[in-house]
Structures are given as C-alpha cells and as structure tokens.
C-alpha cells in the first residue's frame, strides 16, 4: 500500500487547518452578526412568505435572515488575508460577492422596501397602441422585448414585486456567470476549454462552453437559493458538497481552491450549528446565492462540470421541482406537487420538518459520494 509523502500530509494538514480556521472565525463573528440582525429586525415577514402558514413553520415568523453573512464574511476575510491568488481565488470570491450583494439587496428590499411594480408586457403593448404621441409609442414598442424578458423572468419568481425583481436577479447573475466564463475560457489555460468526461476523456465544444458556464452558474446559484427553505437544509447539504470540492481540489493539485473550499466548509459547520431547528437565524439570499455561485465556480475551476449534478444533487432536484411545477401550471393548468420546491411538498403531505431535512441530507450525501467517486475517474 502506497504511503503518503510528508509533503502530501503537510498539504492536507494545511487545508484542514484552514477549514478549522474558518470554523473558528465564523464562531467569533457569529455573535456580532446575530446581534446586528436582531437589532435591525432583519427578519422574515409573514406578509410575503405564504409558507409560514404551513403547520410547523408558524414559529419562524420573526426569525432573522441574512445569517449567511457569517459564511460570506469568513470566506472573504480569510481568503483575502491568506489565500489571495490572482489565478485561482480572485474570480470565485468576486463572483461570490456579486451574488452576495444581490442577495443582500433582495433580503433588505423584502423587509424594508415597499412592493415595486413594473409595467407588464401586456400593459406596454396597450400603451404602444393607445398613447397619443407617436414617438412615445415608438419608444414603448422598442421596450417590448425588455418587457417580455421581465415578464418571462417573473414566471419563476415567488415574491412578485417584493425584493429584487426576478429579471434584476437574472441580469446580475448573468454578469457573475459572464465573468466566470471569461476567466475560465481566457485566463485559466487551454485545459479548461475542454470538458472533462469521467471514464472517458475530454470534450471540446469550443466557444459554446461560455454560455454553458453562464447557465451553470445561474442555475446552481438559484438552486441553492431555492433549497434554503428549512432550518439547516441548505447549510447541512452544502457541508458535504464543499467537503467534496475540498477533497477533489486537493487531489487534482489546486491547493488554493482546496483551501477556499475548506474555509467554506468550516464556516458552514459553524453556521449550520446555529441554523438547525429551532434556527437562531436563517441564511437569506445573501448567503444562498453567494454560496451557490461559489459552488458552481469552484466546481468549474477544477474542471468538474459533469459531477456538479451529483455533488449538488438535492439542490438541482429542488430547482427542477420548481421548473416542473411552473411547467405544469403553464402548460397543463395543474399542480404536479402540492407546493414547490420539493421540501414544501413533503411538508404539505405531513412530513415533519426534521424528517424532511434528515432525508434530504442523507440522499444528498449519498450522491455527493457518488460524485466524488466519479470525479476521481
């Protein structure tokens, strides 16, 4: 049996050390963040969250959100001071922070800003037809594609008019995805232009990899965001996911990314400790969007695009359940699930929150292990 060299052991020790540092730093800043959230009453309102009517969830009213700040700040601070590498960590952190800012605005707007209305496609069409000024009509006609995009984006939104609009989210996520795609395609090297196919080899799809990367970043960020709906659900599933990324990054020789993923794992352990039922605070969009973006970028950075569906399995399942639900409503006029995303469906069926979370954790862990195994080939 091959023994690990002292250099390898040292590297692993180094990585785990940063994971522990992330855990400790998150623990240190938690009381401050928590106090801030309670002081400014940054908590979930039942006026916009209909799921708070489900039996077992009524106690979540007035639970602070934006607890994900603990994780985001820990990752940012430790990476900036100890792991600030132009080639490998600038863009993941940049992408994460873009999404964190977006999520932060969404959380704040949801609580403190009145419902914002936008003109729908149908309303714009009416104005094109009826406005007395022809130049104004022309202007409205030119904005029709934009109005259509806004309406289409809002189909998947859950809080119409509250917080950041769905189309605004999509645009900022496009920027995050675009930056990631630019970085991977132009800065990392020729190897990253090809997709690693486990058990097979590499597949070169040329410039088509750019939209694929953008799509993956947007989808994964929203998938984690959608999954953050129960105490400890998203946090508990992100721990094995980032652990898997830590392991794979180390195996493939990306020390900087391994450290980044380890720090994230450590911070998540602390966060989840306080997030399990009854949660002291919830992640909020500031954390879920940020971590979803980071997850996607880090997986892409170690050329593990095809194992993402495994290491982010339950996140993807939750996101797909929303797509199925919306598709069922629009195409067939019927509900496929009692409520989407999927965890609410099981809640509506009478599963306790704890049972739903535990089952999701276990299934997710199983698929993460499968993903790691596949990724090693």
């Amino acid at each position: 049996m091959a023994q690990f060299s002292s250099a390898q052991i040292s590297a692993v020790s180094h990585i785990i050390g940063f994971g522990l540092l992330g855990l400790v730093l998150a623990l240190i800043i938690t009381p401050f963040i928590s106090k801030l959230l309670y002081h400014f009453k940054i908590w979930r309102r039942d006026t916009y969250d209909p799921t708070l009517g489900i039996e077992g969830r009524k106690g979540k009213v007035n639970t602070p959100i934006m607890g994900g700040l603990i994780v985001v700040l820990t990752i940012t601070v430790l990476t900036f001071f100890f792991n600030w590498d132009r080639q490998f960590t600038w863009v993941p952190i940049g992408g994460m922070l873009i999404s964190a800012v977006l999520g932060g605005f969404d959380d704040i707007f949801s609580i403190f800003v009145k419902k914002r209305r936008t003109r729908s496609f149908r309303q714009t069409l009416v104005l094109v037809k009826v406005h007395k000024n022809i130049f104004v009509r022309l202007g409205y006609a030119l904005t029709l594609p934009w109005a259509f995009f806004r309406d289409a984006a809002s189909t998947f939104g859950s809080k119409r008019g509250i917080g950041v609009h769905a189309y605004e989210k999509l645009l900022l996520q496009l920027i995050a995805g675009g930056v990631t795609a630019w970085w991977i395609y132009t800065k990392l090297g020729e190897t990253w232009k090809e997709i690693h196919i486990p058990f097979d080899g590499f597949l070169n799809i040329g410039v088509w990899i750019i939209p694929v990367i953008i799509l993956i970043v947007i989808f994964t960020a929203n998938a984690v965001n959608i999954s953050d709906g129960m105490d400890g659900l998203a946090g508990g599933m992100l721990i094995p996911t980032f652990s898997a990324l830590t392991f794979l990054s180390a195996i493939f020789g990306y020390q900087e990314l391994a450290i980044l993923n380890a720090v994230t794992t450590g911070a998540l352990v602390t966060y989840t400790f306080f997030n399990v039922k009854p949660a002291k605070f919830q992640m909020g969009d500031v954390g879920s969007l940020a971590l979803g973006t980071l997850l996607a970028i880090n997986a892409l950075a170690i050329n593990s695009m095809l194992i993402l569906p495994f290491i982010a399995f339950m996140f993807y399942v939750e996101a797909i359940s929303v797509i199925i639900q919306v598709g069922g409503r629009v195409l067939f006029g019927t509900r496929v699930f009692k409520m989407a995303p999927l965890h609410h469906h099981f809640e509506m069926l009478g599963w306790s929150e704890e049972k739903t979370i535990m089952r999701f954790w276990v299934i997710h862990l199983a698929f993460v292990l499968i993903g790691v195994w596949i990724g090693l080939h």
Binding site: P50, T51, L52, G333, K338
Partner: protein, 252 residues
C-alpha cells in the same frame, strides 16, 4: 327513467358537495373579469372538484385559516373570495368527460375538437378544458341537434348569445329524463349565477323542464330554485338568447 353513469353522477355529486371540510356547493366562477392567463385551471373556473378542493386547502394554508372549522356558508364564501369555482362550460366538460369514459372508453379531449386554428389546436392539446367552450360543444362537427322526444341524459341545451349585448353563451347538461305518453320531464344541471344570487349564492345546481308532448323547449315550464317563468333567470336567459338548441355529442 334514464340516467347518467355512476361515475358521472359521482362527479356531479362532488360538484354539488365539494370534498372539502364540511363540504359545500361549488360556486360559479367565470374568468372573464379576472382574465388570469396561464394559471391553474382550478383558478380559472375549469377545475375538477378534487383540484378545486386541493387549491382551497393550499390557499387556506397561505391565508392561515382552518377549513376544518368552517361552516358550509363560511366555506362557500371562502371559495368565492379566493376566486375558486366552476363556469358552465368547465362544469359541462368534466361531466361529459366522465360520461364519455363510461360510455365509450374515450376521454372527451379526444372526441371534441376545436376549430379555431392551428395555434388553438396546439393549446387545446395541453389544456382541453380551458379551450372547450359552449361554442365548441355546439359546433356541428362536435354535436348534432336533436328533437325533444329523443332526449337522453348527457345531452345538453346550448344557449348562444344571451345576457347583456347577447355576447354570453351558456349550457345545461341533461341529467335525467322522464318520459310518459303525454309528457317529458328533463332534469338538468349547470353552473350559473343569477343576479339575485348576490356575491355568494351562485353555483352548481339543478333545475327541471316540464313539457307536454310536441312542445318546444321554450314552451315548457322551467323550474329552478322553486322559481318559474320570468322569476327563473335561467329561463329568462333562454328566452332572450339568439339561439337555443338541444344537442348531443356526435360520439354519443
């Protein structure tokens, strides 16, 4: 006495007494005013009793009210306030669909076609109940006019061009037929809203038409909610319609 199949009668019974809490009559809801687009069919007046009940339960969770504790009156008001209900053609669709499956083993979507263009045909494939209205049922390619003497359960009375400005269509489903040598009694069922019903009194209900042999449908005595003649708004709608005909689906 001829009657509809057991399955069809079960569907009617569910509309008359929704499987929800203590149960209540399904209200009438027409999507004309709300103009919901791409929504659940339970929310556009085209849902089955199960879909309407499920939607009511989900809405009760969102609104943080308990359906279990509601009286029949309160429950009906809750449904109306949440825009849950069924319109005339939606009701007819599900009744005739149950009857088609019982009689000929086919779904109604496969035997009633829309004739409004290619785009509509595609939409009809996905959302048949929402795209099968009174005019579709009454189209010559889907149904034929029949004589009163030959009336059977699952026939329907098509009322075209009634209401204000004569822009409104309506239909009644024949539930039972009792014939003697000199008379015919037609028991119909439909979903309708009379002006006097107010905000909450409308919904699925029965009525009857008593005719002597040889009489035209308009000459019979129409009774609904114990009202006849001009006091019977259904009869009033029939009298003021552009055309009224007793029809049977070609597949039946």
């Amino acid at each position: 006495m001829e009657t509809l199949s057991e399955n069809t009668l079960a569907v009617i019974e569910k509309y008359l007494h929704l499987p929800l809490g203590i149960g209540c009559q399904t209200p009438y809801f027409n999507n004309r005013r709300k103009r919901v687009r791409g929504g659940l069919r339970a929310l556009v007046g085209k849902g089955t009793p199960e879909e309407i009940s499920e939607e009511a339960e989900i809405l009760s969770v969102k609104d943080r009210v308990s359906i279990k504790n509601m009286s029949e009156k309160t429950l009906k008001e809750f449904l109306v306030d949440e825009n849950l209900g069924i319109d005339c053609s939606g009701f007819a669709y599900h009744i005739l669909d149950a009857e088609a499956q019982a009689r000929i083993g086919k779904k109604l979507r496969n035997i009633v076609k829309t004739y409004k263009g290619f785009e509509r045909k595609i939409i009809h494939k996905f959302r048949p109940a929402e795209n099968t209205g009174v005019s579709t049922f009454s189209n010559e390619k889907n149904s034929i006019e029949i004589d009163i003497e030959n009336t059977r359960p699952a026939d329907f009375i098509s009322i075209i061009g009634t209401g204000i400005d004569r822009k409104y269509n309506h239909m009644l489903i024949v539930e039972n037929v009792e014939k003697t040598a000199t008379s015919i009694k037609i028991i119909y069922i439909h979903s309708y809203a009379w002006p006097e019903d107010g905000a909450y009194g409308h919904g699925v209900r029965r009525g009857e038409i008593n005719l002597k042999s040889g009489q035209n449908i308009l000459d019979g005595i129409w009774t609904e909610k114990e009202k006849t003649g001009k006091n019977n708004f259904t009869f009033f709608s029939v009298q003021n319609a552009q055309s009224v005909s007793l029809r049977r689906l070609r597949a039946f």
